[in-house]
Subunit: 314 residues, 2 copies
């Protein structure tokens, strides 16, 4: 009944306290401690060292401690047990706050008006487009993408969405597959990436894709918003597209390397917002409670929820 | 059947073209031109000079060309005919974009992160509150306030609203009257003013009111957002409240004097957003179409809509 905590970057003591409160009967051991491998039933992982989860004969499931499971699937020796994703309504709501804020900030040209404010310049020479004149294209309509899409619709944006496999969502023009992607991009003014990182999506935000976005448009050029995974984007292509005008602006919360290196030109581009991967931070209490609830249900004989499909990688 | 255009600051030619397209049979004369007073049935006004609408024996109604009618009611010689407000869904949606954007910008501390970006500083030391931890208090739940309230609810904010006379709105804790105002303020983290400017509301955003807001709270102090009318606010009290920490921050689109004088300390306060009265600009085409529709319905015998109650001043 023991839980193995395999998250070298997270604070063991805080998680131990949290789990002790939620599941008093269970031992929690850290990967760095001595423990009996046969006692481990569940692993809680965040970026465990590849190969460190082998030799656990009674392992039932591995729980990711954050959204996204690419860090888990990157382990070629990952045990053949169910991998469970975090699906946290709180994290979803935080993500939508960040996405809607950035959609509005580009729509209403907040940075232009902030610049004018610093110059004490009272000037309104812009014909600002309305949300209803802007076509948002969502890459990904999972728990996060679908919630952001719904909230953007309420604000008046036109919303399309692309998914690997067909999906329908009220009020959203849905596209799928490679041809569907090109069709959606051709009508997109603001591209919002909330995709999982998989072999198919790695580097998808690249020069070839940006070239397919609608030029011009209500915002004067396409906007890229990525709060998914840094591995989705090719940053040298983003910089080149911004410099050439293929992209008009961007809001990026995730990067190929984090922290974003100080020499990256993204920091200083006038129409780029950089945030330190904090669009939606998992609240450890909510994540822990969700995992303990799942374990208890599983031990009552119920199926695990949010299990990763290893073929799809999410 | 003639329309009198009494808006010295607006472009006569553009309005004449617009109205000619919508109502081909009607003459449009400007107050500065020679015309037969007996021919005038309707006035289209934006800040007409007080006293300039007298002596029109066949006048049926005065239409405001912008949201708000305080400019009309300021004329002591205003003819005793119905005064009609602009109620434009487009203007309402633009206003909600601006209000929701600023609510999110304060919630997610965008300016802090922009400052760090300029310093190429990757730092996330803030525990950012969630929208659901923030109590928004709306002053005014008219067409604009109610729409903004609804959209803030979708984003997860807790929303209360205060109106002069009792009102109910789904999901919004409603308060009215002087005691209701104090009760709402005591639980408010973010105060959003979308009130008409009347004798009762002039200067309502003052030191005494700010002192009743909840200190501390999820945002570290109360935020003031005013996109209503500049006359609602006492700017020296806002500056003093910001300096003393009674207010944590503000987003202001309207001012006592516009353009905001260059020497105002509001321009440079680190937690204040200043915009040049462009949160929601009436789209002339939509306003003109609404007025022509109203005139045609009125002449078919239907009642005028959105008529101002002179006692309430809106």
């Amino acid at each position: 009944m023991t839980l193995l905590f395999a998250a070298p970057d997270l604070e063991l003591m805080a998680w131990r306290t949290r789990l002790a409160g939620l599941a008093p009967g269970r031992a929690v051991v850290a990967a760095s401690e001595a423990f009996d491998p046969a006692a481990i039933r569940y692993v809680l992982s965040w970026r465990h060292p590849p190969g460190s989860l082998t030799g656990l004969p009674n392992l039932k499931a591995v729980f990711s401690l954050g959204a996204g499971v690419d860090h888990l699937l990157a382990d070629p020796w990952l045990p053949d047990v169910p991998i469970v994703r975090v699906v946290d309504p709180d994290l979803r709501d935080r993500m939508s706050e960040w996405v809607v804020m950035h959609a509005l900030v580009h729509l209403r040209r907040l940075r232009t008006y902030e610049r004018r404010q610093r110059e004490r310049l009272w000037l309104d020479d812009d014909t600002q487009p309305k949300a209803s004149e802007v076509a948002v294209g969502m890459l990904g309509l999972g728990a996060l993408g679908a919630d952001a899409a719904r909230k953007l619709l309420v604000l008046g944006f036109r919303v399309s969405g692309w998914t690997a496999t067909p999906k329908t969502l009220d009020g959203v023009a849905c596209f799928d597959g490679p041809d569907g992607l090109l069709a959606m991009l051709a009508g997109t003014d603001m591209l919002i990436a909330l995709l999982p990182l998989t072999q198919a999506t790695r580097g998808i935000l690249n020069a070839a894709l940006f070239a397919r976005l609608r030029p011009g448009g209500a915002l004067g050029g396409p906007i890229l918003i990525n709060a998914g995974r840094g591995g989705l984007q090719v940053e040298k292509d983003i910089v080149a597209a911004l410099d050439s005008g293929v992209l008009k602006g961007a809001s990026l919360d995730v990067f190929e390397r984090e922290p974003l290196p100080a020499q990256s030109p993204l920091w200083s581009h006038p129409d780029v917002y950089v945030s330190p991967h904090n669009a939606a931070v998992s609240e450890p209490g909510a994540v822990a409670a969700g995992i303990v609830r799942q374990i208890e249900a599983f031990e009552r004989g119920e199926p695990l929820r949010h299990v990763v499909d290893r073929a799809r990688e999410y």
